[in-house]
């Protein structure tokens, strides 16, 4: 129950959620709800592990994972952008397809044992900072540091750059964006692709760094859905998505560690003496996601924040009132 261990592990496992959630932020900011995150993450986790296993190069695994998940996201993009179908059902279908394909192609990978992983390292000076150093900068995977870089960059990109402005315009008011000569369809395809790549990166982070291996559906075990929930909590903001993801990661680690010690706050630790109570601990991340959604929704109502105005609405050129 060492808080530094919990927080440091939380940042590592939270990085998985963060990549997936950030991808969904991009897709949803462009107006496309993609519920296929879980499936895309599984595709990413499976292909990264598979490539690292057969070629011995984890970096190549990351690249292949991002491309594979990006490509599979284009099924959803085609169905909802070009064919204008319902985004909820299509996203669900993508999760089914992604899960199914990764199970079929990943058959036998669970016996592969250990593969080359993405290396972990400590940052020379920063790791000396008291408290924060051991949490954020000591013995973390390179991918975790990548997360620190991407979060502020993504925020800057969305809120302060011209392409970011186009992204927001397409998600808020596509017909106006169209009138200004922005290609709504192309941008939406692109950001769904970006979302897919980031979900694939999240999956690869899982299978090559955070909890190495391929355990079929249990590899992600619902984390893709938690990521979708986090996006609502994060109010479509990359920084909030990062902080929320790290907090979530810490929570997941805490419920593991809480079963270890003999006493808890001076009392006998019930979770140590009755290991079955662990099932209730395992419920916590999922219950917490619902609670986080309640908080997020209430805040959204109070501050009059909201989802991107055109989220979930297909853009049809020339149709009135869109």
């Amino acid at each position: 129950m060492d808080p530094i261990v919990i927080l440091s592990a939380g940042v590592a496992t939270g990085t998985v959620l963060f990549f997936a959630a950030l991808g969904e932020v991009f897709a949803e900011r462009s107006g496309v709800l993609n519920l296929g995150v879980e499936g895309m993450m599984l595709i990413g986790a499976m292909s990264a592990f598979s490539v690292a296993n057969s070629l011995g190069n984890p970096w190549l695994g990351i690249v292949v994972a991002m491309i594979a998940a990006g490509l599979i996201s284009q099924i959803h993009a085609y169905i909802v952008i070009t064919l204008q179908a319902d985004q909820v059902v299509s996203g669900l279908a993508l999760t089914f397809v992604g899960t199914g394909i990764s199970l079929v192609l990943g058959e036998g990978l669970s016996k592969a044992g250990t593969v080359a992983q993405i290396p972990a390292l400590s940052v020379p000076l920063l790791s000396q900072i008291p408290f924060l150093g051991p949490i954020f900068f000591t013995n973390q995977s390179v991918l975790v540091y990548l997360g620190y870089l991407i979060a502020p960059l993504a925020w800057y990109y969305i809120n302060r750059t011209r392409p970011g402005l186009h992204l927001r315009a397409v998600g808020e008011y596509p017909s106006a964006a169209d009138a200004l000569g922005i290609n709504v369809f192309a941008l939406r395809y692109w950001y769904v692709f970006v979302g897919g790549m980031l979900a694939g990166l999240g999956g690869a982070t899982l299978s090559l760094a955070v909890s190495p291996g391929w355990f079929s559906e249990l590899t992600t075990n619902g984390q893709g859905w938690i990521a979708v929930g986090l996006v609502i909590f994060a109010q479509w903001d990359p920084i909030r998505a990062a902080l929320g993801s790290y907090a979530f990661g810490a929570l997941r680690r805490m419920i593991l560690d809480i079963q270890g010690p003999l006493t808890l706050f001076g009392f006998d630790n019930p979770f140590y003496y009755n290991s079955y109570l662990g099932f209730f601990l395992q419920m916590i991340p999922y219950a917490f996601t619902v609670i986080v959604l309640v908080i997020g929704s209430r805040e959204a109502i109070r501050k009059r924040l909201g989802s991107p105005a055109a989220l979930g609405v297909p853009y049809i050129r020339g149709e009135r009132g869109k």
Binding site: V89, S90, A93, V97, I232
Partner: protein, 373 residues
């Protein structure tokens, strides 16, 4: 509405125009059939890509699920829970409430029905006429609670029901695990003791003495529950005032609001009813097939298959019965197919093709020659 025309200099052009008329009755089923054929073709490509033989796989599925009366009966057993979860999804989807939690509601229904036997709520020596109705009530009630929760959160706090129902699926699994491992375990195994015979739904095989043709057939009373539920849901949706309100909210929430329909209340009611139907499915599965509480065979994904079936049946309760039989076949036969992910993958591809095919219902595709107009 602008013309979406793919331009070519000369020769043939593909022209898409929005359908203004209602397509003839035979057209939508034909499109769905085409989508399934396409899905099986794409699935076949993927199967051969991983070194399998698609024709062999499909032939195996057909033989192992419809080959003789015995396996046909097993197919119907697999279809029974899907009928109920698909009905659950269909009524929620009708109102555009995305209840993805039929899986969890099914599991909680199974738990509720099991609690009647294991707690025990009904004493062990009671007759079937006591056990089965109480188990039905408990299963329906627990499923309804598991549907009510996300419905209430949606109505009260505008919490996205997709995420909340999904999260409740996971919670339901841990809940059942706790009871199976810690409370009702049979000698340390991860399952409860077997239910007494009085808590079993009757099976065709039970009447094998009187009617020899029924010998060894596993089809159980849950099928009747499913068919009754389908007819009831059909009447509610198409013939009742409440069903009209549900359809109105689904098609046009603004119009419904102006017409004085209470959307908040209907959200809670419909989610609870949806959960109740899935819960009945869970009851039917433990009382008709498993005869004990055990996590793995209950959390086997019937709730998720129900989503696809509901969509394939265009949310029509009667059509759901027949589509469920097809998916029951896929699941039954798929158990022996390697790699084991194939049935799941094919289900997903079918759903993708179906959604894509809806486009053909909204647009008319014409291939025209030259530069007419």
């Amino acid at each position: 509405m602008a013309e979406s025309v793919m331009k070519k200099r000369a020769g043939w052009r593909v022209k898409l125009e929005p359908r203004l008329d209602v397509p003839p009755a035979w057209y939508p089923p034909l499109v769905s059939l085409g989508a399934i054929v396409l899905a099986l073709f794409l699935g076949g490509l993927l199967i051969s890509a991983v070194g399998g033989n698609p024709l062999k796989s499909y032939a195996h599925i057909a033989r192992a699920s419809f080959g003789n009366i015995g396996v046909l009966s097993d197919t119907i057993v697999k279809a029974t829970p899907i009928i109920l979860t698909a009905l659950a999804c269909s009524i929620a989807f009708r109102m555009k409430l995305w209840n993805i939690g039929a899986e969890g509601q099914f599991i909680m229904g199974a738990w509720g029905a099991s609690a009647v036997v294991l707690a025990p709520i009904v004493p062990a020596g009671a007759s079937r006429w006591v056990f089965i109705p109480v188990m039905i009530i408990a299963g329906v009630a627990l499923g309804a609670v598991w549907g009510f929760l996300p419905g209430y959160l949606k109505a009260k706090f505008n919490v996205n029901e997709i995420i909340s129902t999904l999260m409740l699926n996971y919670i339901a699994i841990f809940w059942v695990n706790y009871w199976v491992f810690a409370v009702w375990t049979e000698g340390g195994f991860q399952m409860s003791p077997k239910f007494p015979d009085a808590a079993w739904l009757p099976r065709l095989a039970d009447y094998g003495k009187q009617i020899t043709a029924f010998r060894g057939l596993t089809t159980h009373g849950g099928l009747i529950l499913g068919i009754i539920a389908a007819v009831v849901v059909w009447f509610v949706i198409y013939r009742s005032r409440w069903g009209y309100e549900i359809r109105l909210i689904g098609d046009n929430p603004h119009a419904a609001e102006y017409a004085g329909v209470n959307i908040t209340r209907n959200t809670v009611y419909v989610m609870a009813l949806s959960g109740a139907l899935a819960g009945l499915g869970g009851m039917s599965e433990v009382a008709g097939v498993i005869h004990r509480l055990q996590t793995a065979p209950i959390a086997a994904g019937y709730g998720f298959t129900g989503i696809i079936v509901a969509w394939l049946a265009k949310l029509n309760p009667i059509v759901i019965i027949f589509v469920s039989v097809l998916f029951g076949a896929l699941i039954l036969a798929g158990r022996e197919i390697q790699p084991s992910g194939i049935p799941k993958m094919i289900q997903g591809i079918i759903l993708v093709c179906l959604i894509a095919s809806d486009y053909l219902l909204r647009y008319r595709v014409r291939i025209v020659k030259g530069e007419e107009e």
